[in-house]
């Protein structure tokens, strides 16, 4: 079967800022494909090109065999979209929004059933502006599905949801996939990608770092443990980097972050004790997909800032 989405050497800049340097990947029928990466690395720009909202400056995109810009009319019929922070008029009711959007499509889904599926049936007469963040998000997912799309692109699906709502949404997405919809999920939550995605494209600085299954990514990274502490006195990094169990030592202000295998904690604490350095505010974390990302992109030094900074260019 041909790929549902085929992106080849996508390149996009805004004035002199390069948003997407070189991105290629394919999405197979029926899979949940994750586009993962820190904020501001070109994830949203990539999917906006797929949705036909932006014109690429270079490269090729095919969605269901269609050109997103040229075959717009046909594509919008078959591609469901959930945009990052886009809203509805405050005074529009849930039921009205679903009914309105379903009237745009030639094969709409039953919007009442969809409303029920998303647990919004008792909110039917509620205005968009009066919905909670989670309910607005669910409505936005319902609207992405109301045209019975073959492909759904969901951008920052669970951002702003509480943990319970997030888990409910994940269940829902698995249900949608079970009905044969191919899903592209843009996220910066590693946990979400681990839970939902069949395959993940790691994007960093406008490039695809790697495409693999979530498990495959964690394996590649072999990230082990991460140990953080505030040393009582400054010391030479060599003390720790010489240890066979330690792979990396970095400084964030006066906090030292040590990455290593499962024996690293033991090794580090004994060396510190031997040199009479007290490790204050000691914290140990197991490696996650997040560490895998850091390991795979080689971005340790500014990794902390990677996850918080950005949005300086507005949309990313």
């Amino acid at each position: 079967m041909p790929a549902v989405i085929d992106v080849q050497q996508l390149h996009k800049r805004y004035r002199d800022t390069v948003a997407v340097e070189d991105v290629s990947f394919t999405v197979e029928p029926g899979e949940i494909f994750g586009i993962l990466g820190p904020n501001g690395t070109g994830k949203t720009t990539t999917v906006e090109c797929i949705e036909g909202l932006r014109t690429p400056d270079g490269g090729q995109i095919r969605v269901l065999g269609l050109d997103p810009r040229r075959d717009r009319a046909e594509l919008t019929q078959r591609l469901g979209v959930q945009l990052q922070d886009s809203q509805l008029p405050d005074r529009l009711q849930v039921g009205e929004a679903l009914e309105l959007y379903s009237s745009f499509y030639r094969n709409p889904a039953d919007w009442r059933a969809l409303m029920e599926l998303l647990g919004l049936e008792d909110k039917r007469k509620t205005r968009f502006g009066k919905l909670s963040g989670g309910q607005q998000q669910r409505l936005s997912i319902a609207l992405a599905l109301v045209g019975s799309p073959q492909v759904a692109v969901l951008d920052e699906l669970t951002t702003g949801l509480d943990p319970q709502a997030r888990r409910d949404t994940w269940d829902l997405i698995e249900g949608v996939r079970a009905r044969g919809v191919t899903i592209v999920l843009v996220t910066h939550f590693m946990e979400e990608a681990e839970r939902l995605c069949d395959r993940v494209a790691l994007i960093d600085a406008g490039r695809v770092v790697v495409v693999d299954t979530p498990a495959g990514l964690a394996e590649r990274a072999e990230a082990g443990q991460r140990i953080q502490f505030r040393p009582s006195v400054p010391f030479d990094d060599g003390l720790l980097t010489d240890l066979p169990d330690v792979t990396d030592v970095i400084h964030r202000g006066d906090v030292v972050v040590v990455t290593g295998n499962d024996n690293a904690l033991n090794a580090v604490t004994s060396v510190l004790a031997r040199h009479q350095i007290v490790a204050r505010q000691l914290r140990v974390e197991q490696a996650s997909l997040e560490d895998a990302f850091i390991a795979l992109t080689g971005k340790h030094a500014d990794a902390g800032q990677l996850y918080t900074a950005d949005n300086s260019t507005g949309r990313n």
Binding site: G52, L53, L79, S86, R91, L92, Y105
Partner: protein, 259 residues
């Protein structure tokens, strides 16, 4: 997949515009402040003017017409301007700011259709407002209905078109709903001055009057007053209004940003 579906795309597009228009109309009716501004506010001014005894006496300055006769076209222009210069751009720029337009761009309906729906709803509201003003003036204050009705309708439609083009241009250029609202309000007062809200056109010195006639609302009021008095509006004013509608409308279409 669904090449065989029964509904042809053109029908879907038509029905999408219809649905969007109905939906925008519902939203408008829920927004009482807009109704007040479009219809209530001019109506209150009409009642105030109508209650001033001297406004109801024929005046030689106005060729035997009462001051109220002269003011009805001004109030109509006032109502159309309030709708087109403040309510319309605020709604559209707000939609853009909140991503409503972007969201619609990703559906088969497209965002152009919601603009069209907004214009239709605005036009409906303008029509309602004109009818209410004329009816209240006729019933409450014995002001004659426009004697040249055809000319009056043409002038009113061109006025609405010219003003909505100004409103669209504001919406195209304003970065936010708030800025759109303020810009509209700032344009509204000088434009209303040239419409003769404070100083009737007929009482203006001739240089000022000529300048007024070159502004959208000055041309509008002159054309509406002529039609009310039973003459076909002067082509110069109709052409002026049409030119504003076309030039500013095209500029707005070129400059409009969807996000």
């Amino acid at each position: 997949m669904s090449v065989m579906t029964a509904t042809p795309p053109a029908a879907i597009r038509r029905s999408a515009l219809l649905r969007l228009t109905i939906s925008e109309l519902k939203l408008l009716l829920r927004e009482r402040i807009r109704i007040f501004f479009g219809i209530g506010f001019p109506l209150i001014l009409l009642i105030i003017f109508g209650s001033i005894p001297s406004f109801n006496r024929p005046s030689t300055t106005f060729g035997g017409y009462t001051t109220l006769d002269i003011y009805i076209p001004v109030l109509i222009a006032f109502s159309l301007a309030l709708l087109s210069l403040t309510a319309l751009p605020m709604a559209l720029a707000g939609y853009r700011e909140r991503g409503v337009l972007r969201r619609l761009q990703t559906t088969p309906a497209g965002a152009t259709r919601v603009l069209a729906a907004q214009l239709l709803v605005n036009l409906a509201m303008a029509t309602a407002s004109v009818i209410v003003i004329l009816a209240v003036a006729r019933i409450g204050y014995h002001v004659f209905l426009p004697r040249q009705l055809g000319g009056f309708i043409v002038a009113a439609l061109l006025t609405a078109a010219a003003l909505m083009a100004v409103g669209l241009l504001i919406a195209a250029l304003a970065p936010s709903g708030r800025v759109a609202q303020i810009t509209g309000a700032l344009l509204f007062y000088p434009m209303m001055f040239f419409a003769g809200l404070w100083l009737p056109l007929a009482s203006m010195p001739s240089g000022l009057r000529h300048f007024s006639h070159a502004t959208p609302l000055g041309a509008a009021v002159q054309a509406l007053q002529d039609a009310s008095a039973g003459h076909w509006p002067h082509p110069l004013q109709l052409v002026t209004l049409a030119a504003y509608a076309v030039v500013l409308g095209l500029a707005a279409a070129r400059l409009f940003r969807w996000e």
